[in-house]
Amino acid sequence: MAEMIIKKVRVDGLFEAMKGKDVYAPVTEDGISRFKLVDGTPNLKFKNSRKPPKEAFFPQTEKMFDLVKDGTRFVGAKDVPSRDKDIVMFGIRPCDGRAFNVLDELFNWDYKDPYYLDKREKATVIGLACTLPEMPNNNCFCTSMGGSPGSSEGMDMLWVDIGDSYYVESLNDKGNAILELGKGIFEESGDDIRSSAGKAIEDAANAIDRKLDTDGVRDALAKTFDNDYWAEFSKRCMGCGICTFLCPTCHCFDIQDIVKNGEGVRQRTWDSCQFDYYSIHASNHNPRPEKKNRQRNRVYHKFYYSENKLGLVGCVGCGRCINLCPVNIDIIEVIQGAKELGQ
C-alpha cells in the first residue's frame, strides 16, 4: 500500500496523463450528478450521483450479440468484441465502491458474466472519500451497513480531500499503475497528512445521523415473512422502479431480441422486481401478484437472500432509495419495524 498526496492544482495533469483511457467521472447537470465519460477534469465537489455508477459496468441497455442472418432467417450470433480501452472510474463514493463488491460476487457466482467482467477487469476504481460539506446526504447510513465515509472496499485507490490537496492511498497493482502514470504529479505523503485525512473522514462519519442496528435482522426476517406488516407499509407503494434502478447493488435484467429493418440484436436491459410484469409467468400466473409481495422481495433480497447466496448484505446504506422514493418508503424504518415484530 502506497500513500501519496496530489495537489488540487495538479489534478489536471493526471487527467492529461490518463488520456487514452475511458474515464468516467461525476458530471453535474440540472442539479443532479451522474457518472459519464469525461474529456477533461471533472468538478470534484459533488453530492453522490443520482444514478449509481454500476451503469459503467452494467449499462441500463447492453448489446449481448448481433443476430446473424441467412436470407430471411436468423441463424446465429456474432459476439460483441471485447473492450479495447481501459476504464477509469473516478470519484466513486465509498458506498458505491462497496456495492461493486456485491456486483462482483453476483456476476462471478454460478455463471461468469462476460459482459460485466470484461469491463470490470479493465477498470481501475479511484474512490473519493465522503467529506464535509458535500457529503453526507440527508439519508446516508453507510456506517450502519459496515461501511464508512472513508471505506476503500471495492476500490483500487482512495482519495481524501484535505483542503488544497488530496491524500491518496493506492491499494493494489491497479492503483500503483495510476501512481506510475502520474509520476512527478503525486508527491510524498507523511504522518500528519494521513491523520488529517483520518480526521476529515471521522468528521463526515459523525455527521451521519441516520442509524440502523442490523443485529438480529436476519433472525427477525426469518420469522416475519407471512406477517401482515408487509401489506401495511407497501399500500402506499406506487410500483415504480426508482428504488431498484437507482440502487447501486440491484442487478436484475431482462433480455429482449430487437429486430428492426431486417437487422437484429439481443440485448439486456435493467428490470425491476417492483414492476408487476417482472415476475409474470407464460401462463399469466404471477407469483408476486401484489405490491406487498414485491416490496417484501426487495427487502428480503437485500437483507436475507443476498447474504445466503453471496455472503454479503445487498444494501450499502447509500440512502438513494430513501431520498428518492416518492411516497417515503424508508428502508431503515421498514427494517426496524420488521425487527420489532420478529423479536
Partner: protein, 335 residues
C-alpha cells in the same frame, strides 16, 4: 397565516366521525413521514388512528391514485366485493383529478367521500432538500412548515428559518389558479380569494421556441429518463389495468432500450394519452428521479385543448371528455 394546525384537527375530527358512523370503510390521507421532512400517504381504517392524519405544505402527494386502485380492485376467489365508499383528503388540484375520474366512469360519485382542503401552495421536494441543508442535521427531525402569502416558516427544535415563498413553493403552484376545491363533501379551511396569477407564464418560453430549438430542449431532457415509470405510476389518470408500455403479448409496442428514441416514444405517447385529460396536478414532475420537466409537455397540451377546443379538464363532472365530444366549431385543418 394559514392555520395548518386547526385545519389538521378539523380533518381528524371529520375523518373520525366518518369512520365511526361507518360512512366510509377507510380514509386516504397524509401522515408525517419517517425522518419528518415531508408528509406521506396513509390509509386509516380505525377511528382511533385518525390522529395520524396531518395537513401542512409538505402534503405533496395527489392521493387519488389510491382511489383508482380501490375502484379497480379485483376481489380474490371467494371474497365478497365491498363497494362501500372510501374517504379521501384532497387539495384543490387533486380534486380536479376526481372530477376527471368521475367523468371517465372510473370513480362512481357515490363511492367516494371527499374531504377537501383549500390551499395556497405546497413545497417543492427538491427545493426543500436544499433548504434543509441550512438546518443542523440533528435538528431536522420534527420540523414544521408554515406558510403565509409571502413566506414559508420552517420551525425546528430551537429555531426557525424564514424562506421567501418562491424559494420553496412547488413550481406547479406558481401558475395554479385553483385554490378552492372543485368537488367536495366537506371543505376544510377558509375560502381563498385573490392570488391572481398568470396561468400560462411558464408555457410561453417553450411556445416561443422554434421547432428545432424545442426538439433540442426535449431531446436533452428525455435522454436523462431511466424509464422507472414513476411518472405513469404516480398519475391518477394513467389508470389502464395493462399499460401499453408493459404489454408483452402478443408483441411489444416499444422495446426496453433506454435511448432518446424509445424514451421519447414513451413520453410522447403518454402525453398524447393525457391530452385534454391531464389536470396538471404535477405528480409526474415531482416524482421524477432525474428532474425531467414532464409537466411542461402536459401543459402545452392543456393549453392547446383550451385554446382550440375550449376544453379545460377537471372542472365539472358534467362536462364531456375531449375525445368523447364534437363541436362544429372545432378546428378541422387535419381532417
Amino acid at each position: 397565516m394559514v392555520d395548518y394546525n386547526a385545519m389538521t384537527l378539523d380533518i381528524r375530527a371529520k375523518a373520525k366521525a366518518m369512520l365511526e358512523n361507518k360512512e366510509v370503510k377507510y380514509i386516504i390521507g397524509w401522515e408525517r413521514g419517517a425522518n419528518s421532512f415531508i408528509s406521506r400517504p396513509v390509509i386509516i381504517r380505525d377511528a382511533g388512528d385518525t390522529d395520524r392524519l396531518v395537513w401542512n405544505p409538505g402534503c405533496v402527494d395527489n392521493l387519488t391514485r389510491y382511489l383508482v386502485e380501490e375502484m379497480q380492485y379485483k376481489p380474490k376467489r371467494g371474497e365478497e366485493p365491498d363497494l362501500s365508499p372510501v374517504g379521501i383528503i384532497v387539495k384543490p388540484c387533486d380534486s380536479k383529478s376526481i372530477v376527471e375520474l368521475i367523468k371517465e366512469n372510473i370513480v362512481p360519485r357515490e363511492r367516494v367521500k371527499i374531504i377537501a382542503v383549500t390551499n395556497i401552495g405546497t413545497v417543492e421536494t427538491n427545493k426543500l432538500r436544499k433548504i434543509l441543508q441550512k438546518i443542523p442535521q440533528d435538528k431536522r427531525a420534527g420540523i414544521d412548515i408554515l406558510q403565509d402569502d409571502n413566506e414559508f416558516t420552517i420551525k425546528y427544535e430551537g429555531g426557525e428559518l424564514k424562506v421567501p415563498r418562491p424559494e420553496l413553493l412547488a413550481n406547479k403552484c406558481e401558475t395554479c389558479v385553483t385554490h378552492n376545491p372543485v368537488i367536495h363533501d366537506v371543505v376544510i379551511g377558509d375560502k381563498i380569494e385573490g392570488f391572481e396569477k398568470d396561468e400560462w407564464a411558464d408555457v410561453a418560453e417553450l411556445e416561443n421556441m422554434s421547432p428545432e430549438e424545442r426538439w433540442k430542449f426535449w431531446e436533452a431532457q428525455i435522454s436523462k429518463c431511466v424509464r422507472c415509470y414513476a411518472c405513469r405510476d404516480s398519475c391518477s389518470l394513467c389508470y389502464c389495468a395493462e399499460c401499453v408500455f408493459d404489454k408483452e403479448k402478443p408483441f411489444t409496442w416499444i422495446d426496453k432500450t433506454v435511448d432518446v428514441s424509445n424514451n421519447m416514444f414513451y413520453h410522447l405517447v403518454r402525453a398524447m394519452h393525457l391530452a385534454g385529460r391531464c389536470v396538471d396536478c404535477g405528480e409526474c414532475e415531482r416524482v421524477c428521479p432525474v428532474n425531467i420537466p414532464i409537466r411542461k409537455l402536459n401543459r402545452l397540451l392543456l393549453k392547446s385543448a383550451k385554446d382550440r377546443y375550449r376544453i379545460y379538464p377537471g372542472m365539472n363532472p358534467e362536462d364531456k371528455p375531449m375525445f368523447g365530444s364534437y363541436d362544429i366549431a372545432d378546428p378541422d385543418e387535419v381532417v
